[in-house]
């Protein structure tokens, strides 16, 4: 990316002033090397977002920002309904409420290594993953409505997991304001046998070792100890979220002119928050958030069943569950005063600072846990929200490494069989129904997640707490 017209605010904060139709500037958090390596589309797409009605302060891009559909992935933007602000289906993304949850196991690495092969095989056979996989549940219409309204709380009510899990999930496991009636029949039909499935693409389930602790104090509050084994689950709202995104993107694109909205890119389709289509989208999107929370809750139950059988001394308790494709109503200092704004985070994680009332009481003093997923064979990271981050980008941080090349290019460079063998030699067991899928997700196809996390830490967006290294990876 050409950065010649960027203003450098700090070593990790860069600004493109508002010009032309931009209502606000673009601010990108990254070190110079990450910024130069970003594709030009990030700049173009962030500048397009900056033209949308009612946007406050700036369009922000996280250190892992890369080309997305309309909004850049790693983009954060807040809109005020009192200023004519909009809600954008493209600003949330297709996989609504895709996110990561991390579970303690209470066991040490050596205990898992002793049964690593057996645990990998059992997880692979128990967790539905990959193309065409279906779950054990088949939701009839009444149960579908209850799931879309109840989220993880609904799943716990059916016996999937524990009541104690709920306080460790954003929104207490149940997004308020969900309107199942705004979710189309097509979206519901796509989901009826996909509950409790991992999906495909970059979604995964990993058994990981806590390889390094960077902040002993926060790690203690989070309950993370050196060489403890944790389990991370990365997935979202499956077919339902995609169908909702697809349908509302079309409706918003077609209706934009009637709301006097000029779209610089049809993929940025949006509608005024106070409009009928805007309200309907918010009701459907919140239902999709509940779908994702319920999905991760059911998967958690399946993982617990496997551990109970293979490693009965393990006790899987939830550290936290965060989503990174959402639009939420939040109170922030915006436009120079306190406002209620609609914060879009697409491929960006909420990262509230210490003391925020939305953080569970047991974790509140440390800041909200943030999970940054790596790729197979590379590290993942646990971070914590900071006070400074609240004023930088509405309490937001990055979400992953970001792809460095296309899936097609990855399959030209690597063979799935070789990737599996190389990682096995490093002590990482990969289980996947698709070797081509493994090649597409090869570690080398992603950017250096360590550099992304360091930039987020040094920019002040979130504080680095621990590094997680995979032992087992189940890929979709």
């Amino acid at each position: 990316m050409d950065i010649s017209d960027f203003e450098q605010l700090t070593p990790f904060e860069w600004r493109i002033p508002a010009t032309g139709a931009m209502r606000v500037p673009v601010v990108i958090f990254a070190d110079e090397a990450l910024l130069r390596a970003m594709d030009d589309k990030v700049r173009e797409q962030a500048a397009n977002v900056a033209t949308l009605p009612g946007i406050m302060d700036a369009c922000y891009a996280m250190p892992d920002a890369h080309w997305g559909y309309g909004f850049p992935i790693g983009g954060v933007a807040a809109f005020d309904p009192e200023e004519g602000g909009v809600v954008s289906a493209g600003g949330v993304g297709f996989d609504i409420s895709c996110g990561v949850r991390c579970l303690h196991t209470g066991v040490q690495t050596e205990a898992v290594k002793a049964i690593q092969e057996r645990l990998a095989n059992r997880l692979y056979h128990r967790i539905p993953a990959g193309v065409g996989s279906t779950g054990e549940l088949r939701l009839l219409p009444q149960a579908m409505e209850a799931m879309l309204a109840g989220g993880a709380r609904w799943a716990v009510g059916l016996g999937y997991g524990e009541v104690a899990d709920l306080e460790r999930i954003e929104e207490g496991g149940q997004m308020q304001g969900a309107e199942p009636a705004r979710v189309s029949l097509h979206a519901k039909q796509r989901q009826q046998d996909e509950m409790g499935t991992l999906g495909s693409g970059n979604h995964y389930l990993e058994v990981q070792r806590v390889a390094e602790i960077y902040d002993e104090g926060i790690a203690r509050v989070f309950g993370l100890t050196q060489d403890e084994v944790v389990v991370s689950i990365h997935c979202g709202s499956r077919g339902l979220g995609h169908q909702i995104g697809t349908e509302f993107l079309r409706e918003m694109a077609v209706s934009a002119a009637t709301h006097q909205i000029v779209l610089p890119d049809r993929e940025l389709a949006c509608a005024p928050i106070e409009s009928e289509v805007g309200r309907h989208y918010l009701g459907a999107m919140r239902a999709a958030i509940n779908c994702a929370l319920a999905n991760r809750q059911i998967l958690t139950h399946l993982v617990r069943e496997v551990f109970a059988d293979v490693l009965p001394e393990a006790r899987l308790s939830l550290l936290y569950d965060v989503s990174h494709n959402t639009c939420r109503v939040e109170k922030h200092q915006a436009g120079g005063r306190g406002r209620t704004v609609y914060v879009h985070r697409k491929g960006a994680t909420r990262a509230f600072g210490p003391g925020h009332p939305d953080i569970p009481a047991a974790l509140r003093d440390a800041g909200q846990p943030v999970f940054i997923g790596g790729s197979m064979g590379t590290s993942s990271y646990v971070l914590a929200g900071t006070e400074r981050g609240m004023s930088l980008a509405y309490g937001s941080a990055c979400h992953g490494a970001g792809r460095a090349m296309s899936r097609h290019e990855a399959t030209r460079r690597w063979r799935g069989r070789d990737v599996v063998a190389d990682l096995a030699a490093q002590g990482i067991l990969i289980r996947s129904p698709s070797l081509r899928g493994v090649a597409e997700e090869a570690p080398g196809a992603y950017k250096d997640v360590g550099a992304v996390v360091d930039a987020a830490d040094q920019a002040g967006l979130a504080r680095k707490v621990a590094k997680l290294v995979p032992l087992i990876c189940v890929k979709g």
Binding site: F94, D95, G199, T246
Partner: protein
């Protein structure tokens, strides 16, 4: 056919069952996205792969028949799951040589 080819080699499929489609849109580009999304919906809910299409276009309206078979995980080894047709790089236009370009990025 490109939509099928990102999942599986279309030549490994049998056109044993037929599905009917119809779509309408304000313009040809949205019609392309609508058509692909209709196919993706049938692929997802029927667990199905298509290998042969017959399409008729009249004034931003499309009717089609598609043939294929249910996914057999052991025989087809599907690689990716198409999730939706996007509006990114969405183009439908007639080129100067008279040929047509229909282009769409599909999210997987």
């Amino acid at each position: 056919m490109a939509l099928t080819a990102i999942v599986v080699d279309p030549q490994r499929l049998h056109p044993s069952e037929r599905v009917e489609f119809s779509c309408n849109a304000p313009d040809d580009e949205l019609l392309l996205a609508d058509w692909l999304n209709a196919v993706i919906y049938e692929m997802a809910t029927r667990h199905f792969l298509f290998c042969r299409y017959r399409v008729a276009l009249v004034n931003h309206s499309l009717t089609a028949q598609a043939w294929g078979e249910p996914v057999d995980l052991n025989r087809h080894h599907p690689v990716v799951e198409p999730k939706g047709a996007t509006y990114t790089a969405l183009v439908v236009r007639q080129e100067t040589d008279g040929s047509w370009l229909a282009q769409c990025v599909v999210d997987v």
